[in-house]
Amino acid sequence: MTDHNDQQDLDARLLEQMRQDFLEEASDLLDQLNLHLIQLEEEPDSDELANQVFRIAHTVKGSAGFAGLEEMSAIGRRMEDLLGEIRKGRKAVSSSFIQAMFDGLDLLTLLREKAAAGDASPVDITPVLRGLERAAQNAAAQDETPGETLEKPSAADHELFEIYKGAYSQLAALKHLVYSSVHLYDEDTLAALFSKQIAQKMRPERNSVWLVKNSAQVVEIARDGKLVPEDYRQTIAIDTSPAMQRLINDQHVIWSSSAEDVTDLLPGFASPVIMPIKAKPAAYGFLALDPRQPAEVEVYQFVAEFAAMMLRVSKLHRKVDEQRKELDEMTAILFRQNNILSSLYHVELDLMRVKNPVDLCRILAEAFVHDLETRSAAIFIKDEEAGRLRGIWGSGGLQDIPSLSFSRDEIVPFGRCLETGRIVSQIDFSASPLRLGPNDLTNWVVMGLKGRTKTHGVIAAELDVGDVTDSMSILANYSGILLDNLILENRTGISDGAASPAI
């Protein structure tokens, strides 16, 4: 009995001694811990400090345990775990670490004092323990993602991401194509370019681009990136094909599974998706492809929209070009007409001042050549008494006109002109030249110098340029009216022999 009691006494006294030793030691340890923690706050990634804190925690855990101070040991153990995580990844300590450690330190200090004072009242250490546990978990989680813990994306998410990424880069390539081809006008070239981009960037099994031509047919322009040579182009009439009407007029997408007649129209395609290139009032054409994956179909619909954009721009360019050409033509015409009318004005002023018919004929004949650009001109005036037509003036290199005179019917075109009052031309006379003395006129016209009530004569001219007969006619009529007065006043002006101005 006494042995057991003695042993117990010895154990108790040993334990008590260990306790006292530990409590004294702990005082120092806790002071050091305090200092280290303060320093760690300043230098959160110091490995040295972390190690020192670790050793203290380790000692507290062990020694407090031997001394029977279980609570202090537990706290020490949690601290050690926490430091373990920090040291494992050589991580910097966080503010939650510091907080948890100071909380732990405060509690250890309290527990030590109570033990030293013999105060056995209970203390709840669980909150501090939890704090240290949480800090340890946070430190451990830093291994996987920085900052917060993230969920790893699933395999399905990843696949979708890849698809969208791929689709985005394809659409970006197409956008680039649209911008870079804005200067291209030719639809067929655009179709081939588009087919090529689709083949290279999107890689369906096969693709072809068809365009509407003449509003009545759809023609295959490009296949798999190459222009189809004209002789080899397939055509489908829109009116006779319900599938084409659905596609071009109604502008619906056609899935081969729903329209058997379509696969007949597109030999070589396995199960094509056919998309209209949408426009108003009807589609420009369509895009047919055998996609590799069904998910790509949505992307292809964007492609069809890009194609529509490109074609619309090219059509607008063409329209602008045509209008510009027309404006250029009109400008040239108006310019020329303006020049002619200016000349006519000046000639008419000159004619107004003339006092006798011979001078009038001279000015008129010269005006035809110089202002109206005829190659030559000759004027014959009626000599009523003699029943003849007398040559008065020839310009543009014609010889001997003043020495010529013809009876009315001798020169058939003259006779015809006087009889009908109309312009007569070489075309009306089976293209034969007009012989006036030593002169052979080609490309000729004959028109009357018509006064108010009678025709005074004719002018014959050779045309080098077209489009002057109206101006010639205006001048000839004006002269005719002037001649009304001049001939009246100069009754003796026209007679046999050389024409000469009246004195």
Partner: protein, 120 residues
Amino acid sequence: MEKKILTVDDSPSVRKMVEFSLKSKGYRMGGAGDGIEALALMDSERFDAVILDVNMPRMNGLEFLEKIKNDENYAAIPVIMLTTEGQDEDRDKAMALGATAYIVKPFKPTQLLNLLDEVL
């Protein structure tokens, strides 16, 4: 549906000017250089009015006018005469043959457009 107008004149400039003025007002245009071409064109296309020059080779305007006014297919189509002749003789002849109106060259585009408005 826009109206379709046939211009018959041996001068390409006149045809171009008429076409330009009329097209900008929404008319559709056709052109012929003389009466024979014009008849061929009217055979294949339907026109709502004809603008007709008088002085043309091969078949002048008055001959052409007579032809179409005597053809039941074309008799109802209004005809506007264009000419350099200021004389009454031509005008009277044309009106007698059934022309609807008469304009002397050179004319202002607005004159022609107003006239066209009236006859259509």
